[in-house]
Symmetry: C2
Subunit: 457 residues, 2 copies
Amino acid sequence: MPERLVVIGGDAAGMSAASQARRRRKPADLEIVAFERGHFTSYSACGIPYWIGGLVADRDALIARSPETFRAEHDIDVRLRHEVIGIDLDRREVLVRNVDTGTESREWFDQLMYAAGATPRKPPWARVDARGIFGVQTLDDGTALRAWLDADPGPRHAVVVGGGYIGVEMAEAMIQRDLTVTLVEQGDQPMSTVDPDMGVLVRDSMCQLGIDIRTGCTVTGLTVRDGRLSAVETTDGTLPADLVVVSTGVRPNSRLAADAGLPIGVTGGIRVDLQMRVLGADRVWAAGDCVETVHRLTGQPVHVPLGTHANKQGRVAGLNIGGGYATFPGVIGTAVTRVCDLEVARTGLLEREAEDAGYQYVSTRIESTNRAGYFPGAKSMTVKLIAERRSGQLLGAQIVGRSEAAKRIDALAVALWNYMTVDEMAGLDLGYAPPYAPVWDPVLIAARKAVDAIHAG
Amino acid sequence: MPERLVVIGGDAAGMSAASQARRRRKPADLEIVAFERGHFTSYSACGIPYWIGGLVADRDALIARSPETFRAEHDIDVRLRHEVIGIDLDRREVLVRNVDTGTESREWFDQLMYAAGATPRKPPWARVDARGIFGVQTLDDGTALRAWLDADPGPRHAVVVGGGYIGVEMAEAMIQRDLTVTLVEQGDQPMSTVDPDMGVLVRDSMCQLGIDIRTGCTVTGLTVRDGRLSAVETTDGTLPADLVVVSTGVRPNSRLAADAGLPIGVTGGIRVDLQMRVLGADRVWAAGDCVETVHRLTGQPVHVPLGTHANKQGRVAGLNIGGGYATFPGVIGTAVTRVCDLEVARTGLLEREAEDAGYQYVSTRIESTNRAGYFPGAKSMTVKLIAERRSGQLLGAQIVGRSEAAKRIDALAVALWNYMTVDEMAGLDLGYAPPYAPVWDPVLIAARKAVDAIHAG
């Protein structure tokens, strides 16, 4: 009889794990059953704002692989609308509820892959039963929001609460749908995922697009009329609204794991070893937005819910379940996004994060261009570096630019990953040709400026 | 009395050195005189093809700083049309000829900066005195070519000899000027700066543009009528032509240095230490296309004439002349270019270079896209990796793509610089968002494929 792998969660981490395990172990050796409470598998959650905004025309384009594909091509039994509601590690069973019928059943496993993702941090005011209130965590969320937008008459006034990546991307999507948009952010700056001096560039660009930005502003409640949202109450006054997007962050969806006695870390994520095996558990694995990982610079546990990590971690877990050997080396906080006509990127630590980690640092900022200044299409870009005060080790980098800017973060990310100093970086052999860079690439100019600051300090 | 720095050559390396030295030492402490035999200083030689082709409208846009700027803002005495024709290290004098008047004079120095650049490898058949024969090494060359193109009636049939970066860029420029273009290349493939399996992609793209490519073809002579070029004779027959571009490579312009007894390496370039000091010489420095440097992977001396190295080396020399401390760490062979609608990039070693260096390797190739597949503007890209057979250390990478492809080489270059293995690279935390990458960046997919090949081998 084959071993049986049960996968909890049919998105990036879970299905990557399932696919990798299947590549190495045939159905006669390993049966794979995946339970997903939603309607979809393996979709690009990061793509939802672009579908909402209309840039991506077809929802199905966001779905990498359907349950049918998994079943037919990989012999993976994916059961949609099935939610795992309990784990019994001693009996090696999960309790599963059919979301549509309410029927519950027990399913046995030898190996368990926990990939339940993240749960929106829903503020108390958002726990209201009314139409017009949306999250954007899942493709089901996105589908509901899109239906609301496409209704006739559709909504006209949107309020987006929370100015992180998703909030900013959703604000832009709403503008593209011709709604008036107000972005409500508790902090001093939207795009708090970069330092304030870089965030202000993003803010300017959002304002130019017509987004009304309210910073230092908190939502206090919602006004509902006839079961529909009619306004958002804030510390900055009443904002009429027939649509609110709640993008106030997520937390690891680790409750079931905790209830089963699996170890939960300080971030709320499940604790795993390098192979993505749950610490101290027998043949139980976890990956994706529900786990915590380690930041390679600070050595601290962090929770970084990003599709790219979920895919990598899922692959690692699946390789190991399949009898191979792979490890996940941790993260350094790289992220990129597009806001209006701006490209925004970061890697490593922000200033406050560097401080919290105990680093003393210098930070420098330069202006340059994506191409040779004389080349058609040359656009400006700002590069900020944060380097350890004494050694000059790169601790963080941020880029805001208009074109061909964001992915320059990768060279900086690899430098940071390898603990390079800004001195060493100034000598790097990067690609140069007029269509792609000034003769000194912005990355090199930034490194030179940082070198000067280190030696002056 | 101030010390006196004499600079031989007023382009990237020489003027970077002069500027850096000036930043640290005021005129009362250091007098700086630079001799340049041409009409221009500090221009982008790499930009010449784009000006010839019409993409860059204004020649002066290629000039970063004019002699007037150097004089007025930096107190650097730049003397154009002055060629240094001899160096006397014992008397610490150079012999200088005014190119226009023929007058010769002696100029003393304390410190000497040798930055005479490179000289075209002119084949015997090109040493003919006729109109219609052009190099593209200097802005003076470019100016002459442009005048020939702009004449009325202008030329109609161009032959470009040599299929390296410059040859390929010039072929494209000639097409943009509505000439018929034949590219003659001795080897099997134009763009021999990448492996043949990648070069074939470039060849296809050039053919589609209408460039007639003759590989395995050698020029045997030129036909001149009334002092004008009328045809190029090749092993492949007679090619009617009223314009020939000779882009058959360059060699270090180190003759004067050799005559003065300075050490010349196996590549023909001047030998320097880490600070760009000429080996064994007293207060004599060299930088740019006239020196040889070290390849960080093979440990072998190499001659890599590229503006980006010239700028870096010149800066290092200037900092040291100025009393600071900087070193040039060597190169790893990174280069990017645009050919028609293709972006072409490389870093590290090609297959034959890896073999010559004594490595055993595996090479792998993957296809991916620059953006999420569903995102508007997603275009294909091919990434090839070469990794050491046993350790998996990255030895080389090549990319050919249609958009947002070439500069991905930088992440690979930094990985290679840091001696990463493809195993380590598969875990890198690179930027992901749908407008910029699939959830697995092509760089990561390439690393995964290489990992599989290493472990299979």
